[in-house]
Amino acid sequence: MQSTNDKFKVVGTQLSDAEKISKPSLSFWKDVFIRFRKNKLAMFGLVLLAILIFMAIFGPYMTEYDYKTNDLTNKNQPPSAEHWFGTDDLGRDMFTRTWEGARISIFIGVAAALIDLFIGVAWGGIAGYKGGRTDETMMRAADILSGIPYLLLVILLMVVLGQGLGTMILAMTITGWINMSRIVRGQVLMLKSQEYVLASKTLGANTTRIMGKHLIPNSMGPILVTMTLTVPSAIFTEAYLGFLGLGLTPPLASWGTMANDGLPALRYYPWRLFFPAIFICLTIFAFNVVGDGLRDALDPRSRK
């Protein structure tokens, strides 16, 4: 295969050269970061998230009102110079309450999403990879848990464990991870029979390596999408739990409870629904684009 064509040239034959890294050395995370930064939409999402978190921390102190004092003579006021987001049905300042609520809702959304992520990925990943009886046992256990009436489960949790943040998070995640585990299992089932996984297996890679390097990273798309779905559902589940006496006790605010309270007022005092709802949307939007950006940045194939 010798060629005299001068379009070809010898690049080098030294063995040591072949092992040299041609691109500047970058750690994995640095690489991810650089790629993430190039994604403008994702950066925008990140900035948005930063603003939301900043407001959640400092927002409640920006007005002279606190989140709990009633002012019945000023109830249901539309947004104005005094009350930037208007007031609710007990005359409380919606701006203060919105940011007070941001703290709890963002925290709960993220916490629930992370817990669901860890349990769901581990459960679904193991079930899918091991297959056979392990798969049957683990997935049937998930089915049983999702067959039991959730409301009943929650009532009992509250009676047994009492009110509190821990109980609330537990109630939210007790069945929340199931969807994630099913998605991950499906992906793993499909991926594990693909050639590169078989190749890796043949080369002697152990389970952890195959899971960590091949199966999970290649399921990242559906995982992230499912995770961004968990955030809003946790925010609203919190409101639902509150209704059962398990969530926050009033006058504490959260976006979920504010949106719940504001919904019947839609025809009369729309701002009571609008503000919590728009900030939930913005948060989800931010999580979505950041998630997408992260996925792209993590995907080795998008490396150029």
Binding site: L72, T73, G91, I155, P264
Partner: protein
């Protein structure tokens, strides 16, 4: 980048268009009725939920009551003057000791042509009292001699004081002179049942059909479970010339916003109480456009104190909490249904002087004095040393709002810290039964129009509906005297004295007396809502 942002902003725009559209507020009301003489006499109302049972002996809720009241008729019927009138009974005699009633049954027919007989009443009442039939409201019949014993298995059904002397004569013997007995005979547990059919088919009341015979102004022609009930004017009703509506469609919509929206869209002729409910947030708008109708009913919304735990075992603390409430403000801003501030336990429909009540509303000065005294008795220096008081309510938007406002009032006016505690309905009832609460909200709606109904439950500390742990020998004595007192005025005075004792001990902080609020089609006339909040369509018509 520009493009991406612009998409994001266009998304924002869509949402804000929603907002802009909301600004208008909705009043494209106006149902049917174009002034013509020949208006269709078809009424469409919402009854909220599926009636759990349309067997008079098994019914125990207001939805079933609403349907039954319009298709069946008892010995008496509450007339448009809000007093019992002759109905299936054309006349009656009362013995001198006021304990024996002899009813003469009118010549009336069931919808299948069978005559209505005295036996139908005896059968129905004894059926409800038979412990094998699982009637939950059978205790409404305990005013009848021997009824309680028979129902609880301690006596024989033959000793129950109701007897059909002949086809048209019914004799009823009572335990005590019961001045409101003729009202009770209009109540649904006292309705007759077509005994011929009921004896043959025990499931006669589970569906509309040939076996579901009625003796009231309307007849049920369709019962589509959880969806709708259709009533049509009954041809066999003795007073059918009075009935003007041709049909009533009762739909089951369990959402106040939807109910009002359907009314605004002309899909319903009535929205709100007594069969449905109006959304609280709509109240102001409905008041502003002048369509809201308000009527006081016999019911009271209470905060019950658990008098067995510190600090609520202290009378002065209880009084402090009760006096520190600004009921007027609560009603004007939160419940918004023009309820009456309650500073007494018996509704003003029975005790007119309770419009003023036993103490002034929002008396913060007095409240502070009571608090001082109470703290001293309990050995505290300052209100801030009191442990936080837990205020319990069952899950509902309205209760939650009131609780938050009360929390704020107690903290602002008295410096008492209050924590809110809500629970799902059944868990909540369980808590109340076990006295596992400090302050708890509970409403009471009268079953019949008498003060006894509002006082009796506090007679014994372990009574099922007391839930405060409070009892008082003097109070008990007055109630017992009233039961045998035959002079109405003396009886009334005894009950008033009892209420005074009760209010002085304040085991309960009454908040407000209930009202019914609704909107109705302008051309709909003469729908009658009684003082107990029961609706009748017998006289209703569209003009």
């Amino acid at each position: 980048m520009k493009k991406r942002l612009s998409i994001f902003f266009s998304m924002l725009l869509v949402v804000s268009m929603f907002l802009a559209a909301c600004g208008g507020g909705g009043d494209n009301a106006d149902g049917g009725g174009d002034g013509g003489k020949d208006v269709p006499q078809e009424l469409k109302v919402n009854i909220n939920t599926e009636p759990p049972s349309l067997n008079p002996g098994l019914a125990q809720d207001s939805t079933s009551g609403t349907v039954l009241r319009n298709i069946m008729e008892g010995l008496t019927r509450i007339g448009q003057k809000d007093e019992p009138e002759a109905a299936m009974a054309e006349s009656w005699e009362i013995s001198d000791d006021l304990k024996t009633y002899t009813f003469k049954i009118r010549d009336a027919q069931w919808s299948n042509g069978d005559p209505v007989t005295a036996q139908d009443f005896e059968y129905a009442w004894k059926w409800a009292l038979d412990p094998n039939n699982q009637s939950t409201y059978s205790y409404q019949l305990y005013y009848i001699e021997g009824a309680e014993a028979a129902n609880t298995g301690k006596g024989s059904m033959d000793d129950v004081g109701v007897k059909a002397i002949d086809d048209k004569t019914l004799e009823v013997k009572l335990v005590n002179p019961t001045p409101y007995f003729l009202e009770l005979t209009a109540f649904y547990t006292y309705l007759p049942v077509n005994s011929k059919i009921a004896q043959e088919n025990k499931d006669w009341a589970t569906d509309a059909g040939d076996d579901y015979t009625t003796n009231g102004p309307f007849h049920m022609t369709e019962w589509s479970h959880s969806d709708k009930i259709i009533l049509e004017k009954s041809d066999t009703y003795w007073d059918k010339d009075t009935v003007k509506l041709d049909s009533i469609e009762m739909v089951m919509i369990n959402d106040p916003n939807t109910e009002l929206s359907m009314f605004d869209n002309g899909e319903l002729d009535w929205a709100g109480a007594p069969t449905g409910a109006l959304p609280t947030d709509a109240m102001q708008a409905l008041k502003d456009n002048g369509t809201l109708v308000t009527q006081a009913i016999a019911g009271v919304y209470n905060y019950k104190f658990n008098t067995t735990v510190e600090p609520l075992n202290n009378e002065n603390i209880r009084k402090a909490l009760s006096h520190a409430l600004n009921r007027e403000e609560l009603i004007a801003n939160i419940t918004q249904g023009e309820q009456l501030p309650a500073m007494g336990i018996v509704p003003p429909t029975m005790f007119p002087e309770n419009e003023k009540g036993h103490f002034p509303d929002n008396d913060v000065e007095a409240a502070k004095e009571f608090l001082e005294k109470g703290l001293e008795e309990l050995g505290y220096e300052d209100a801030s040393e009191l442990p936080a008081i837990a205020l319990s309510y069952n899950t509902s938007e309205a209760h939650q709002k009131i609780a938050q406002a009360v929390q704020d009032m107690w903290s602002q006016n008295l410096g008492i810290e209050v924590t809110l505690d809500n629970a799902e309905w059944n868990v909540y009832l369980d808590k109340l039964d076990n006295m596992d609460f400090q302050v708890a909200r509970l409403g009471w709606l009268g079953d019949f129009n008498d003060a006894m109904n509002f006082l009796e439950m506090y007679k014994d500390a372990d009574g099922g509906n007391n839930q405060t742990g409070w009892e008082d020998p003097e109070f008990q004595k007055l109630l017992e005297q009233s039961q045998t007192e035959t002079d109405p005025d003396a009886r009334l005075q005894l009950l008033k004295d009892a209420e005074a004792i009760f209010m002085d001990a304040m085991p309960v902080a009454p908040i407000y007396f209930y009202t019914n609020n609704w909107v109705q089609d302008e051309s709909l006339k003469e729908v009658f809502v009684s003082g107990l909040g029961d609706v009748q369509y017998k006289w209703a018509y569209f003009e």
